[in-house]
């Protein structure tokens, strides 16, 4: 088994994390180049291949312990930056839920995840936070229910499904599984899944543990949105340094400078709060859910605004789908709208600050 080596990636120092970021970025630049990223994201074989490579770096094992969220967040950021839909979220969720299960089934399944052979799509169902996300339940050892809004389902080998009492693992080819791609702003498309008496392995878990998985999924999406927003922003800054209009660089106009200055403030604010939330969770700080909600409530509107302002700085040049910017626009908006988005995070903060509404 190769499980022991990858866990070495958890609890790194900040210098070690910088090195990890560098190596992930280099790998993605080489194997998931920007000029082919959009096309490759729709190609199941390409997704399977990049996931094996990333898992080969030990990234598929992150999240197995109560540490490692900082490192996982860094990977999500890099995936967002590279527009790479590698099934990292499914892996982290699997490690979080099954990392401590003693059964051979769990161990064998996680082994496949860590080797990059299993690609997991995560369905949060009743824990999604979106009231339209459906729900799933186990009855007589089989899974039933439907859920829209599942990412990575088309290229997944397994579905990890949160039920009302635990987590179910379903093989993608199992009987009673129906899947429908639902195209929209998100590329690759989200999918709707339905299960009808589908055979599944089920582990019982407390609602609190399941809810925490949803928090991590939200942080992961915000991390990807941050990476995408940051990358598009960097392109806008470079553009402002070379593009001339009215005989001067547009980056000399104060209207452009202040716009980009505000974007940098938003990006830094989102990164600092997301890192702080992951740190708090890794350090066992019981307030980590507050810090997570704060990061999500800020990142939602802030990163969207960065994405919009980035496009305004790029002008029509960045409006063509063949430019790199549109994919980042899609990623930022798609990831920030999911799982209840910023309104849910604000509601959670109000609960924590004012107490629940009575």
């Amino acid at each position: 088994m190769s499980i022991s080596q990858p866990t070495d990636l958890e609890g790194l120092s900040s210098t070690e994390r910088d090195l990890l970021r560098k190596s992930v970025r280099e790998l993605l630049a080489k194997r998931w180049p920007a000029d082919r990223a959009v096309e490759a994201a729709l190609d199941g074989a390409a997704v399977a291949s990049i996931w094996r490579e990333l898992a080969g770096q030990g990234l598929g094992a992150l999240g197995a312990d109560t540490t490692g969220l900082r490192e996982a967040m860094l990977v999500f950021e890099e995936l967002g930056r590279a527009s790479c839909p590698a099934p990292m979220l499914g892996a982290v969720a699997a490690n979080m839920t099954l990392g401590h299960e003693q059964s051979n089934t769990a161990a064998a399944f996680l082994g496949d995840v860590h080797r990059g052979e299993a690609r997991i799509a995560l369905a949060l169902g009743g824990f999604d936070g979106d009231p339209a996300a459906g729900s799933m339940a186990m009855r007589d050892g089989a899974l039933s229910g439907r859920t829209p809004f599942v990412e990575g389902a088309q290229t997944a080998t397994h579905f990890l499904v949160l039920t009302d009492g635990g987590v179910a693992m379903v093989t993608a080819s199992a009987p009673g599984v129906a899947m429908q791609a639902t195209p929209g702003l998100a590329v690759p498309a989200l999918s709707e899944l339905s299960f009808t008496n589908t055979p599944a392995v089920h582990w019982t878990m407390s609602a609190n543990r399941l809810a925490d998985i949803a928090v991590v999924a939200r942080l992961a999406c915000a991390g990807r949105a941050l990476g995408a927003a940051q990358r598009a922003f960097e392109m806008a800054v470079e553009h402002a340094k070379v593009r001339k209009q009215f005989g001067q660089l547009i980056g000399q106009f104060q209207a452009v400078q202040h716009k980009l200055a505000d974007c940098l403030t938003s990006l830094d604010g989102a990164r600092l709060t997301l890192e702080s939330a992951a740190d708090a969770r890794d350090n066992g700080n019981p307030d980590w859910r507050f810090f997570a909600a704060a990061a999500l409530a800020f990142a939602g509107p802030a990163l969207r605004e960065v994405s919009i302002q980035t496009h305004r700085a790029l002008g029509a040049i960045g409006y063509a789908e063949e430019h790199e910017a549109p994919r980042h626009f899609r990623r930022v908006h798609a990831d920030l709208a999911r799982f209840g988005g910023a309104p849910r995070a604000r509601a959670e903060l109000a609960d924590l600050v004012l107490g629940p509404a009575t």
């Binding site: 800054v237 402002a240 340094k241 660089l249 980056g251 000399q252 104060q254 452009v256 400078q257 202040h258 980009l260 200055a261 505000d262 940098l264 403030t265 830094d268 604010g269 600092l272 709060t273 702080s276 350090n283 700080n285 307030d287 507050f290 810090f291 909600a293 704060a294 990061a295 999500l296 409530a297 800020f298 309104p343 995070a345 604000r346 509601a347 959670e348 903060l349 109000a350 924590l352 600050v353 004012l354 107490g355 509404a357 009575t358």
Partner: protein, 396 residues
């Protein structure tokens, strides 16, 4: 009472907090607090006697290097101190400019004799400075200042006018930026003088600022300042000013942050129990949404402040990072004040002079005060220039 969960600042800062609280419990007594609150609003926050008491017991110069008589406390510990003082409502404005800006400049640019004479006095809560920077034609463009100093024997003779100096009517010394070479390029002809405000020829005319405290116009007519009171070499004042400003921004940020957290605490404590028109305010979904957004923004402001502290602790000078923290926190104060008026309605207009005003009548003052944060120490627009040009390297 704190609404936002505390960040773990490490055992050193947490232990230090206990020491500060014990001292405050002994010296910032309920009697003193009541007497302080009986003073007019304009005078609150300033208490020369309390500054001297703090100086006597070693609470001034916490962050100064030990070889200058300080305690060498980390920025994290200094922020813990600022927060505790703010939470207790203890008056520490009188010596703040001397402790942070003047002392900082003396460390870097002061002559040995100046350091030996002025630093101990500042540390003891004496020599309370105000800043003499802005002029009628020199606001954001500070280097355009024209107040003139001409050498005459062992003195500089100063003539000119300064504006908007907070606390000048309560201070005994002025940290005065003057032009010593009118022929040089504008940044190259500036020097800094420490001026005793009792010197003949000085007129100080306070006016009331929107937030309820004074700032002053001051006039200099043939004011003779001893040449030994110039800090740094003649015509190098621009560097003296900017070096001190960079380090000072972090500490000012700490003060603002503590005030913001306190204001948010007051507002949320009120909302937990307030019933208006038969409805509990805390159940209003619009209010809850607004409070949630503000809580997140406060956390972001705290993160900016902590990053600045980390940078200082690593021996780096936060520049665009400090600008970011200032823009964000000062504009957050404006949002918080506006949200409070929306939430409280007309009752939010009532000040602390109206008995029974909700949230102690503090919210309308918070809003009036927010303007100062967005202007003083470099406007939000200037800060955005710094972020764009220094943080993003955009062309000038």
């Amino acid at each position: 009472m704190t609404t936002l969960p505390a960040h773990d600042m490490g055992p050193a800062a947490d232990g230090f907090r206990k020491e500060i609280r014990a001292w405050l419990a002994k010296h910032w007594t309920p009697e003193k607090q009541a007497a302080h609150l009986r003073k007019p609003f304009n005078e609150r926050g300033y208490d020369n006697e309390f500054s001297r008491l703090m100086g006597r017991d070693g609470w001034i110069g916490l962050g100064w290097p030990k070889h200058f008589g300080g305690q060498g406390r980390s920025p994290t510990e200094q922020i813990a101190f600022i927060t505790e003082i703010a939470n207790a409502g203890a008056p520490a404005h009188a010596h703040t400019t001397s402790e942070t800006i003047v002392a900082q400049a003396l460390f870097q640019h002061g002559a040995k004799e100046q350091q030996d004479e002025w630093l101990p006095a500042i540390k003891h809560g004496e020599r309370l400075f105000a800043l003499g920077y802005s002029e009628p034609e020199a606001g954001s463009d500070l280097a355009a200042l024209r107040t003139r100093a001409v050498r005459d024997g062992d003195h500089w003779v100063v003539n000119g006018q300064k504006l908007w100096s907070t606390g000048a009517d309560k201070a005994d010394h002025m940290w005065l930026a003057v032009r010593t070479d009118p022929e040089a390029k504008k940044h190259a002809g500036i020097s800094v003088l420490m001026v005793d405000l009792r010197t003949p020829g000085i007129t100080i005319r306070p006016s009331m600022a929107l937030y309820g405290k004074t700032f002053s116009t001051h006039f200099y007519d043939d004011v003779r300042v001893p040449a030994k009171n110039m800090v740094g070499a003649v015509n190098t004042g621009w560097k003296v000013i900017t070096d001190a400003l960079a380090a000072e921004r972090v500490m000012i940020g700490g003060t603002r942050m503590a005030a913001l957290e306190r204001a948010f605490d007051h507002l949320t404590e009120y909302l937990k129990t307030a019933v208006v028109g038969g409805k509990a305010l805390k159940n209003d979904p619009v209010i809850r949404d607004r409070i949630g957004a503000l809580a997140a923004d406060l956390e972001v402001a705290r993160q900016f402040q902590m990053r600045n502290s980390r940078l200082v602790e690593q021996g780096r000078v936060p520049l665009h990072e400090a600008a970011m923290g200032k823009v964000f926190a000062s504009e957050l104060q404006e949002r918080l004040g506006q949200a409070a008026l929306d939430i409280l309605g007309t009752a939010g207009l009532l000040s602390e002079d109206t008995p029974g005003a909700p949230v102690g009548g503090h919210m309308e003052q918070l809003l009036r005060h927010s303007i100062m944060g967005m202007i003083g120490g470099g406007t939000s627009e200037i800060q955005r220039n710094v972020i764009a040009q220094r943080g993003l390297d955009l062309p000038r």
